[in-house]
Symmetry: C2
Subunit: 439 residues, 2 copies
């Protein structure tokens, strides 16, 4: 019967919009699905999926009875009674909040109160709930760097919440840019309420936010009472260099809501994420409790509660692993690092002699690299690359909040094997050279 | 560690709002949680949970590898490869659409196109997505009977979509009431877009919509181009009498979006529901495809896709059961029926001599009974019943879209054992007699 779905092309980190720019984002999803349909042989460097070779799904399913036994022991019941409890409706805010807080402490250096954590049906739900809760009034605005993750921009569009890029600032100073943007909005009668950002190995750019910028942004957001939504899907996949502390770890003033996910560290099918609200939002404990209550209430009307089977899987894995995912992420981390190394090596080869025309960053972790071309690269070029050169990359303009980013692309190196990566980049080099020759 | 959640009181079929009446609905959830906290010994007839004695969670978890093997066979891969596929991101609209369509045909008599089904993270997400998609413009309104399920009213409130009760009509004719309500809205510059209804064993009233009313409503909604959102969580739990065809089964004009769930037939923790869009919405195939696309796009920003592990569980159970849940629901159906019989018997005893003052319906299925009292019954009375008489029932006013329903209550008989039910109803009778004596 019906495997129609499993075979369908998917671009999970991309989706739709409604009208205007949002409509264009919608068009992006359809467009990429069509490309995959029309050119099934093209190697995709478009989708930021985790490498599924490392999914230990059978072992992870065994974590469910493990968690069930843990519940039985904690409640003083037998396993069957614990299983019935797990299978029932549950607390809207989540069931594994303490285990998640432990993992955030062990792996991310975060001191979160389990009572301030809301477990969500994937991190996307956490983003949606936070934007809804923080931007409930007309004129409330979300700030974001430009370009930014389309899951954040898309949900804002659909909710009718304006999402505004930080204005470029002469000094390249993000805090000053944020202040200037907030001031301009205030002059229009609008209020910047939240700043969505991925400091670690950003999607789509692959960059890391420097420590000084973190400090300055925290101070600016505290002063402006703008809540930082710190998204961190890729932080555990660092390849080299020292980790900067997360914004939430540096936060002493209750500025940062931390957004977590198990989609990359375990697998996307667990659909478990979280929002961790600070203990005192801008110093106010009651405001913090009110935000948690608001998130929980909205979640109760969105998905009632996160599947307790999925929570049991995550909880059971955390019990088995002693509260840290470091062992589990080690093999995929090395795999992504080898892919990053290979990608950089092939880019060097593919663009030898074009060093001033084609430039790219050297990601120190994560799934993505950004690359600048000496010509604009848009939808029609994606089609041509797929049809004539056998690869797909994402125009960075798909992630832009304005009409910028016409010359950049995003390369996802997480979901392809070394041979495919080599072939695709070599073809990409050929395409660029052909195009520079006027073909 | 952290079983904080599992022990917490939950009222899954109730939740919050925002302001005004919505704020009161929010207060309802908090209020009921507080009651449960303050009076943990009180027997709850408030929550419409399925009876967990019938959850076969171990057997259902075994359905995941069964579905995995099915996928492997369909794709011509080994089980490990199929497992990796299941654990990955997936199609936003769902993976088990064909199996769900088969079950809807076998068990509900519905002829659904798998390509028009969107699999959701529980039915609550389906309700939310449909209201968002159908009521996207200012002035778009959802109609509902009064009282109605708080999951529908609550999500409308949170989305800022007005939800309007059908105006009472002199003849008690629902179709005329709907037409009159739509006309009044139109005169205000508003547009009725959707009509949310549970024809089978309604939550909160426990009633069944008569066949003639179904026909009249279908005709009225077709003429007015109002989409019927037919919610059917309880249809498989019929105790006696002949089933009427579902609105979606009678629908020849593409008026009905059918909403399904596996929370009651299997268990809430699977968090799998669906919306089945007609093949031709008001006769228009393109409009139907556009609505599906809109639901999928909105879902991609809400939860990306429904957990493929949970879909695999449901899919595996459907494979094992030959595409029908009749065998699985038989034991709980008989249990609910015995509870219904016992409830009616104890009500007869408890209110002997008060037949004209206290009246109730005889539910022919489902989880709920509604009862009319000769005095108003609100929050303060709930507290008194919990504290002094040891039981909790729900004032029907909690489900009302206006200030009506002050004298009715909802009794949920699904989640308690016979001894508790007997004790609670006997205490309820004592409470009513005490109160009629002026105490």
């Amino acid at each position: 019967v019906p495997i129609e779905a499993i075979e369908a092309p998917v671009t999970p980190d991309l989706a739709s919009g409604g009208k205007g720019r949002a409509g264009r984002r919608l068009a992006v999803m359809r467009f990429l699905n069509e490309i995959a349909d029309d050119h099934p042989g093209a190697i995709s460097l478009a989708s930021g999926r985790p490498a599924d070779a490392f999914f230990e799904i059978d072992a992870w399913l065994e974590a469910i009875p493990r968690f069930q036994a843990h519940v039985a022991e904690a409640l003083g019941t037998d396993a069957a009674a614990a299983g019935r409890r797990l299978a029932q409706y549950g607390r809207t805010g989540g069931m594994i909040n303490g285990l998640v807080a432990g993992q955030l402490l062990n792996d991310e250096g975060l001191d979160c109160d389990p009572g301030r954590i809301v477990i969500t049906a994937g991190c996307q739900e956490a983003i949606a709930l936070c934007i809804q809760a923080l931007c409930a009034r007309p004129g409330d605005v979300v700030l974001a760097r430009n370009p930014t993750y389309i899951g954040a921009t898309g949900v804002a569009d659909l909710l009718g919440v304006e999402i505004v890029p930080l204005e470029p600032h002469a000094d390249g100073d993000a805090a000053l840019a944020l202040e200037a943007t907030a001031a301009r909005l205030a002059a229009q009668g609008k209020t910047a309420r939240a700043f969505y950002v991925t400091p670690e190995f950003d999607n789509p750019t692959g960059t890391v936010m420097p420590l000084a910028e973190r400090e300055a942004l925290l101070a600016a957001c505290r002063a402006l009472r703008v809540v930082i939504l710190e998204d961190n899907p890729y932080g555990m996949f660092r390849f080299d260099g020292e980790a900067e502390p997360h914004l939430a770890a540096m936060d002493r003033d209750g500025v940062v809501v931390y957004l977590g996910t198990y989609s990359k560290t375990l697998c996307p099918a667990v659909r478990v994420g979280c929002a961790a609200v600070p203990k005192r939002l801008f110093g106010d404990e009651a405001a913090s409790a009110a935000l948690v209550a608001e998130l929980v209430e909205r979640k109760s009307y969105s998905t009632v509660n996160t599947s307790q089977l999925n929570q049991a899987l995550v909880g059971g894995v955390l019990l088995r692993e002693g509260g840290t995912l470091r062992r589990i992420v080690e093999a995929p981390r090395l795999y992504y690092r080898r892919n990053r190394d290979l990608l950089l090596e092939r880019l060097d080869t593919a663009f030898a002699g074009l060093e001033s025309a084609v430039t790219w960053n050297r990601p120190r972790g994560g799934f993505f690299l950004s690359l600048s071309l000496p010509f604009p690269f848009g939808s029609a070029d994606v089609v041509r690359c797929a049809a004539e050169y056998g690869f797909v990359v994402m125009p960075m303009s798909f992630f832009a909040l304005d009409d910028s980013e016409q010359h950049r692309i995003r390369i996802a190196f997480s979901g392809v094997g070394p041979a495919e990566l080599t072939t695709a980049i070599d073809s990409f080099g050929q395409y660029v050279r052909d195009r520079l020759r006027g073909n």
